[in-house]
Structures are given as C-alpha cells and as structure tokens.
Symmetry: C2
Subunit: 475 residues, 2 copies
C-alpha cells in the first residue's frame, strides 16, 4: 500500500473512529452472538492474493464490530474499566506509525527518556517519595510476577537465578489476603514457589487483610523453618475494592525482611486525588507498587505502571546482555529491557504523555472524583432501599450489592441475583458482572468509564429495580 | 476531547503519518542525541491544566521524532527487522479505538474467534500439521518462558504449579545451543530451573547445535540423576541465523520424553515460502514453536505467534478462574488468558488479519523471497572481494561478514571492524549492528525492512567499502 493510498484509507478509518467514539453508547454493549458465530463468517484458509482495503474495512464493520463487547461504552459497569480516550488513541496512531522498538536506550532514545519522564510525573501525581522509580509493564499480572521473581531473587541472596529454587536455604513462602487477585496465585505458581506456599491470609469484615493473621502466618512459617519471601497487599481488591492496612503490614515486612508488593492495579489512579490519599496510607513504604493507567486513567491498554524503590533488584533478576545487544551507551543509560520479562518493548510512554497533558492533572482528578461521587450516590440509593443490600464498603468506584427480597434462603438469593444480573445485562444498554463475597453471590457495578455520567448510573439502578420487578412478577 | 475535535486532530495526525511513511527514508536513521538530550526538553513536573492537542503534536514532531531510531527506514539492516506496514497501522488505529479487552471469549467474542482463525491461517502458511493450535503472545521472550514453564509442569507430572520446583523428583535441566537467544537464558532463570541447569550445547562450524553433543549432555545428566525437561532448538539464531538440525534433535527429545521448543522468532516467516521449507525440516515434530510476525511479516509489534500441539499443557500451567472472571460460556469456548502469563490481552488478531489479506500469502512470500535473494546477492559480492570475509552461511536475510585487510592480527581485525561499523553507521543513512561468532567481531547486515530494495543493499555495500577506504587512508 503506497503512502498516498494509506492516507486515503486512514482518513476513511478516522471517520469511522470518530463516529464510533460519538455513537458507541447506542450500540448493544455485549454482542448477541454464540460461540462460533464470528468464526463461521471468515474463510478457513488465507487468501493467496491481495484484497483491497475497502473490503477489509467493510468486513471490520460488518463482521467484527457486531461481535465485540464495547468496553468503552458509557454503560460499562463490568469488571474494572479499560478506558481509552481520544488523545490516547491519537498517540497509538503515531506509535504504530513509528513502529519503533524500545528495548534499549540506543534503539529509541526518545522512547526511553520519555518513559523516564512520564513515570516520574506519575510518581509525583501519586505523591510517592522521589526514591521510587517507574517502568511501564504490559499488565498487572506481569508486574506482580516481576515482583515475585525479584523477591525470590532477594530471598535467596541473589542465587535463585543461577541455582534455581534449590538455592533457597529454606523453603520460601508468599502471603496475600484471601481476596487478592488471581494473578497472585498465578504468579506464585509461575515463579516456582508453588501454590502450596501461598498463604491466603484471613480478612476482616471489610474483606481487608488482618495484620494479626499475617503476623501469625509469618511466625508459623518461621517456626517451621520456612522463609517468608514476599507479601502482596492490595489496595482495592477486585471483588470489593477492599483496602489492606498497609502501615501495619509494612511494619511486619520490615521486621521480617520481606519484600512488600502493593497491588493497586485498579485503585491506584485514585491516589492522584489529594483527599483520597488517606486510603493509600503506608503505600510509600512498599518495595514495589503496581497500578494500571489503562484502567482508570484513560490510557489505552496495555499500560501498567510499576514502581520500585531499588531498581538494582530488577537488574539482578532480569538483566541479560548478549554481545548482539551491546551498545556504546550501556554504562550511561537505562535499558528498560533489563527491568522486566520481555526484551521487545513498544513505545507506550507516548500515550501516557498525551493523556496527562491533554487532561492535565486536574482534569484526571476531576474524572476520578466524579466517578467516586457517583458510586457513593448509588451506594446511598441502595442503602436506602430495604429490598437491597450493600455487601461491602464502596471507597472507590465499585458498588457491591444484592437484591434481598424477604423470605428467601441464602441459596435462593444467590440464584435470584444471578438471574437478576442476566436480566439487567440482557437489554444491551449496560454491562455488570458478579463475584462472591464471603460465599455470597454479589453484583458488582463499577462506575469508571470515561463518558459515564449520572444519567447512566441512575438508569442502571432503575434497570436493576425494573428487572427485579419483572422477576418477581414472573414467579 | 469531543469526537469532532478528535476527528479534526486525527485527520491532522494521519497527514503526518502518511508523510512519515513516504519520507522516513530521508531522515537520519539514528538520532544525533546523547543521553539526557530528550529528557531535558520536557518539563520535570506534569501540567496541572489541559493543553491543546496542537501543542502535543508539535512537541511530538519537534522533540520526540528527532530523538527516535527509525526502525522502519529502508536503510534498516540492524538487529532483526521490526516491520510495520500501512494495513497493520490501520488495524492498530481501529484496535485502539475499540479499546477492548480479550481476556475471555465473552469479553470480546470477535477478538477471540478472529485470533483462532488467523492463527490457523498462519499454521497453514507455515505448512504445520493441523494438530498445532496457535495463540498470540507479546514477544518471543514471553513465548519461550511459556514453553519453559509448560515443560517444567510436564517434567514434574503436573506438580510444580502446586508444589514448586521442590516437586521434581530429580533436578531438572534445559538444553540449548551456545548460539541460542539470551531469552532462553533469561527464561531458564525466571522459570526457576536456575541458569546452572542450562546446558549450552556445542555447535558445529556453521554455528548449529551438534546433535551428538546434545545426546552426550542428555546422557550425562541422566547418569547423574538429573531429569532433562526441555530442549530449545533454534531455526535462525540471532547472531548468524544458524539452523539447528531439528530432525535428529526431535528424535533425541522423543526418546527422552523431553519437551522440544523451536525458536524461529525471526526465521519462521521464511517457512511461508515453499522452496525455503527444507530449512525447517522437522519443525512439525516440535511440542511448541515461536515465531514473530512482528519481525518479518509486516505486522506491528507486538505480535508473536506461539504454536503448541497440546493446549491442555498450557491450561494446566496457566489456567486460573476466580469467581469474578467466570462467564456462562467458559465450558464451550477458548479463554486465551489461560494460554499464557497475562490476564489482559489486546485485540492483536486484527492487524494480522489485515496484513495477510492486504498482501495475500503470495505477496508476503514475494517479500521474503526478495529479501533472501538480496542477502544472497550481497553475500556473493562479499565472497568475491578478497579484502572481505563471510563469517557464516546466509540462508535467510542476514549476512555476517568482516573486513579482513592483510597483515592484521585477530585482535586488530576486531578493533578495525568495530571502527568500520561505527563509520558506516555515522552517516545516518543506514544502520548495521554487530555480534561475535566464535569470538570474532562480526558485522551483521540484515535485509528485511519492507521498503529495502536492491539500491539500498548496494549502497550499504558501497558505504562499507568507502568507510574501509577512509579508515585505511587515515592510518
């Protein structure tokens, strides 16, 4: 495709893109498709000859878009948000055009240096002390694995890289609350600790880690000759945005010489709002912190911010410099390939730079404030309705609740709420998901999509009650 | 930013993008910057208030672009290529706009099903048997780590996930040639085997793994009570595109019950060309294969193709299904999050679909054929010049050579070729890199950028000889 043809097709694509951004709220948020429906519309064998771009764009519009779940729909209340934004999309366009590889400083100096700058901007926005340095990882799963690998290396005195897990003079253990994200379980498996060595620490009535239970687990392991290697504390758990008490946890880690990793994948964005920073009290005592600008800070996935206090621990875990990657600058620069698992790296700093500058720190704060206020307003409506029940505190944008008409057993309530959720989602105007809290089937409604306003939250609440009415009538 | 403002800015961005694609060959391929030069042009603190997009685009043009290394410049002969292409960029624009998350089938059905289709297209293009299934990973480093983790799980009878490396009834070992990529070393460290348990197998005079040396290493370990877990064989090593003999290696793996992972990260693209498939003889016997469409198949980074014969081995290593990720479809669909490390996944299948359809299989074959023919022509020129020496066979697009004026010691030749490389690169019209082969400083020239033609290769060869002349005159 000649650059002039590209120009023509790209202008056509832009018009579709702008229309999509304007109209996405009118699309069904989840597609009405069954497994296999998309696949059978696409030939089973690749074309031998070139096809014109217009045919591709048509197929994209007619086959792909109707099969997509629209994560950037203002009725998005599911999982956690995965926001993009116009300036972030613009940056992705430019990044894709450069097609550069940021594995080393020398392979794209501006990519490395802009990453250093914007990660320090983020550090300042989170009010972290200046001894934290940042690097962009792809996902929080990867960042948590990076933390677990770094902690493993430290707990073996820098020997696990060379000698494997056998280097440990004692078996190693990891600690996280029962409500920690599944990526902690996965990371503990992959890093070779073994899931049997992950201690799921009990939580309190707010689903936050109990420091006394952590202290007891640490003590139990030490007495049994097991060496505590890493504690993962969460600010904003996935099921309920519970907040593990960082300060007492950090004190236990400090005394035990254990790596403290803070998983604030979703909630971290809220730390840019001064009046919400008390929820992160003690975060500055962590060894590593992960949070995802691609969730709540309007930056296209993937963009995970990973902060560490001691980058030399990353280097000793991840550095590899074969002859063919050596450059004349290695002694004087940061080569981010040595700060994580992957060698190849996209130029992800550009979208973060565009987002922070396009909205300004105050603009991003206003967005978070708006979502938190809407979640609290919704929580108020739920609390005021005797047929509904809040199932957890709502400090950020997530509200956990269930319908609780009188005279039903717990089992019946679980089944009823699953049906309620399906009914609410069936309309295609909004999308909510579920979890279980203390065994109880729980509806999760997250206010966090860029365009979600009071009208969408109000309509969602109305839809819940209407769907409940429908279920009641159909008994 | 309102969708209409986005429309205006995106059209402006597209004009820059099309100009860049047209004019990139006229830019200095590597920037004339020193460490810190970019950073000091950017404010140290983030802006509180929003800035207009025009200012961002200006800064992008004036601060960022002059600090970039231009990987998509036709003078790109460095490392391996990292190609993009107009249809791939168009797909990235659409993907960024959707901003969807493909962690589960239900979170974007079209993303999962298109990935299934295009990965099967790729399988057919590589002439792999139908029992291989594919998944897109981010990088070859990650895919090789995935293979090493899967092999670890298999070698421990499915127990290493739960019990860690302690589950192994014998220490585990991994085998790869001395010329294998650094990501194998890194993966062996991260997966917990320990680098001491990576056997670097001797290579022959063509830098390919010696099957007799592998057999001896396997036997030595077995006799010592060490269990062989994984062999990584490479088709197209990074230093010299050496080809490990897959068929005898596979036979050794089969007999020993060892996982065979084939790293064809760069060269795999050549397997789409029927007359080059003999170079991949035996690849169909592997347990897993990695190759990067983002290198030589015109698909924007990141897009790594990972093929396995037994996806259940992936599931048993990577699957994690907490309540909040359960969907009604899980029993009937592929949830790609369980096929690798990350939970979150971008919609990367779209760009691969656009590329294969825009060029057609024949168009992509023509590209690879053209690059291989140009590399062979260059190798011929070098072989015909008595002052130069080819240092390895050139079966794909990479030519390894050095200048060898008479009367110099090996040490002098190493220093001289390092100066020659620096002189060739100094002009900013082309970019070559180096390696060491058998200890010898080696200049690497890879023909593989989308727009690289005979004139660029000829000009590079002229520039090498001219720079050598300059060095000779300045003695």
């Amino acid at each position: 495709m000649h650059p002039d043809e590209f120009r023509r097709h790209a202008h056509a694509a832009v018009d579709w893109m702008a229309d999509y951004l304007r109209d996405v709220g009118a699309l069904p948020i989840t597609p009405a498709v069954s497994p296999g429906d998309i696949r059978r519309q696409i030939p089973e064998t690749p074309p031998l000859d070139a096809e014109p771009f217009d045919a591709l764009l048509d197929d994209f519009r007619q086959v792909i878009v109707p099969g997509m779940t629209h994560w950037n729909h203002p009725g998005w209340f599911a999982y956690f948000p995965c926001n993009n934004s116009p300036p972030s999309i613009l940056a992705e366009m430019l990044t894709a055009t450069l097609g550069a590889q940021g594995m080393s400083w020398a392979t794209s100096p501006a990519a490395t240096e802009l990453e250093q700058v914007v990660m320090d901007w983020l550090r300042q926005m989170l009010a972290l002390p200046p001894d934290f340095v940042g690097v962009i990882q792809d996902t929080a799963s990867t960042a948590t694995l990076v933390a677990l690998l770094t902690a493993r290396e430290r707990a073996t005195g820098g020997r696990s890289g060379a000698e494997g897990l056998a280097a440990a003079d004692a078996p190693l253990a990891v600690y996280a609350s029962r409500e920690a994200h599944s990526s902690v379980d996965k990371g503990v498996k992959l890093a070779g600790y073994g899931l049997d060595r992950l201690r799921h620490i009990d939580t309190d009535e707010r689903y936050a880690m109990r420091p006394d239970a952590l202290a007891a687990a640490l003590e139990r392991d030490r007495a049994a000759g097991i060496r505590p290697a890493c504690v993962v504390a969460t600010v904003g758990t996935t099921s309920s945005t519970a907040i593990d008490p960082l300060r007492p946890i950090a004190e236990l880690c400090r005394r035990a010489g254990v790596w403290l990793h803070v998983d604030a994948a979703y909630a971290g964005a809220a730390a840019i709002v001064p009046e919400l920073r008390t929820l992160f009290d003690g975060m500055e005592t962590a060894d590593s912190i992960v949070f995802n600008p691609h969730k709540w800070l309007l930056t296209n996935f993937d963009c995970t911010a990973y902060f560490v206090r001691d980058p030399s621990a990353l280097l000793s875990t991840f550095q590899a410099t074969p002859e063919y990657l050596r450059t004349a600058y290695d002694a004087d620069v940061v080569n981010y390939r040595d700060w994580g698992i992957q060698l190849g790296r996209r130029f992800r700093a550009l979208k973060l730079w565009f987002v922070i500058r396009s909205y300004g720190v105050e603009g991003l704060r206003a967005l978070v404030r708006r979502h938190v206020a809407l979640a609290q307003e919704l929580a108020g409506w739920i609390a005021a309705d005797p047929e509904y029940e809040l199932l957890a505190p709502a400090p950020f944008g997530l509200v956990c609740f269930r319908w609780r008409p009188p005279g039903r057993s717990e089992q019946e309530l679980d089944a009823l709420n699953a049906r309620l959720l399906a009914a609410v989602n069936a309309g295609g105007e909004r999308f909510l998901t579920h979890t279980r809290l203390g065994g109880t089937y729980t509806i999760r409604l997250v206010v966090g999509q860029r365009e979600t306003g009071r009208e969408h939250v109000r309509a969602a609440w109305d839809a819940v009650r209407e769907a409940a009415g429908g279920l009641q009538a159909s008994r």
